[in-house]
Subunit: 205 residues, 2 copies
């Protein structure tokens, strides 16, 4: 098994954190994003989205999408559980994961592609009004997370899960590269952020 990877990009980081939480190691192949190797014809055969990470299985097939890679590994190594074992836990964790991805992640992504860093790359027709909408959505969602984290220890309940990994990576990216930092008054969100950041997995290479 081989992981086509990049040491600092946000989606590969989700897999790095997951591997550290599970105590797993996989051979890594660094994809040179500065040279746009992920958009090369050879790489697009591995993943037609032209994105990393991609996991190459021993039979030569490929799984892309960070969460799908984690689900594959979870089926091989069920403990410690990051997706839940009981039906109700599976449903609840997936629901929270989807809210993070489809609401928070989607809007962070709109702010990113319409923001200054992507603007300087000059490869995308930007829409400032779309960024204004998504920026506002993200700040509202931070408030909602703060309310929820007043009631629960982690994103999906008492236990750390794939929903926490995804939320941590998304919010760190939003703060560091999209200028969408959670308001300092959101104390419960800050409490959760410091707890997940203190886990050794948060800085896993």
């Amino acid at each position: 098994m081989k992981l086509y990877d990049h040491p600092t990009a946000p989606n590969p980081r989700r897999v790095h954190v997951y591997l550290a939480e599970k105590g797993l190691e996989i051979e890594r192949v660094n994809v040179d994003m500065a040279k746009r190797e992920h958009k090369s014809d050879a790489f697009m055969k591995k993943n037609p989205n032209g994105q990393i990470p991609v996991l190459e299985l021993d039979d030569g097939s490929f799984i892309s999408e960070s969460v799908s890679i984690c689900r594959y590994l979870e089926a091989l190594h069920p403990e410690p559980s990051m997706f839940g074992h009981a039906a109700a836990d599976i449903g609840r964790i997936d629901m929270h994961l989807r809210r993070i991805e489809l609401l928070l992640g989607r809007n962070v992504s709109v702010s990113w592609v319409n923001g200054p860093i992507v603007g300087k790359m000059g490869r995308f027709v930007q829409i400032p009004e779309a960024k204004a909408q998504s920026d506002a959505f993200v700040h509202n969602f931070y408030q909602r997370l703060d309310n929820e984290l007043a009631e629960r220890k982690m994103i999906a309940g008492d236990d750390y899960s794939i929903a926490d990994i995804t939320a941590m990576v998304t919010i760190d990216f939003a703060e560091q590269l999209v200028d969408l930092e959670p308001d300092v008054e959101l104390k419960h969100l800050a409490r959760w952020r410091s707890e997940v950041a203190a886990r050794p997995s948060a800085t896993a290479p």
Copy 2:
């Protein structure tokens, strides 16, 4: 168990098709979307997104998100499999499901919220440039699906799965309500559409 539901909305339809494929029946509670019952305080306690479907479990807890509801039911009723059993199948089906949702579904949604039907509702500041981008993306993605369906019977491989349910519901919605019909020249996509539409589940109430 109770499903908060609507007979014709696209996300509930994903669960209806899934239930029909699995041969399951669940008590339904119709949510009056015309009266905006899904945005009421009482309903927002069930799902803070203000969306249906929502599944109420026997312990009084709630699972929203159509795919999360299906994952919960899949854990209780594994056959016939819609998410895969072997690790490689689980990863591959999830990867294709995510491509349908995060690429096709996301862009159909942008075209919908910026299109004429939502425009007439007057509840959202529309961005015509965003619709132009997402319309073009959807047509490119249809071409990509057509290329893939020249090589495979179903969206994620040989077997019908949750990825087919999601793709069928998304493309039917795009065609019927967002004016994003696949080009008639996309023969492989048309072949797959006619096969999934011919299953009894496609018209399940």
